[in-house]
Symmetry: C2
Subunit: 78 residues, 2 copies
């Protein structure tokens, strides 16, 4: 079974780069990557926060949060 | 041809987690990931620095640097 993985971003240039180079580079045989744009899906900010996301872009993989470079703090999106 | 990718780390817990969950999750059909332990291979700190690595763990993918969470500044390793 594939791991359900979320990539949270806010459309910023740092986010776009991380999406293109990291999120889309994960092994498709092992991961289903859901791309979540928190700027457009503000109702999911709470979910991201609860999972430990502090800034975007961030990848949540098997429950572990990986902040990739730094685009914007989550608090700036709410 | 596969992309040559470097994952720079220093053996710290944050590094180990990023290696396990991110570096080892890249698509093996598209990437050859070289794991570089800068604590043990101090002679490669200059190379990492020149490529824009500021802290470990960091992934350099197609010339782009992605700092994943924060274990240690590169300056602390030299």
């Amino acid at each position: 079974m594939k791991s359900q993985t979320q990539f949270y971003h806010a459309g910023c240039p740092v986010c776009t780069s991380a999406e293109k180079f990291v999120a889309q580079s994960l092994d498709p045989a092992r991961f289903d990557v859901e791309i979540v744009h928190l700027g457009e899906q503000g109702q999911r900010i709470g979910e991201a926060e609860q999972r430990g996301v502090q800034s975007v872009p961030a990848l949540v993989l098997d429950g572990q949060v990986f902040h990739i470079n730094h685009g914007a703090d989550l608090s700036a999106l709410a």
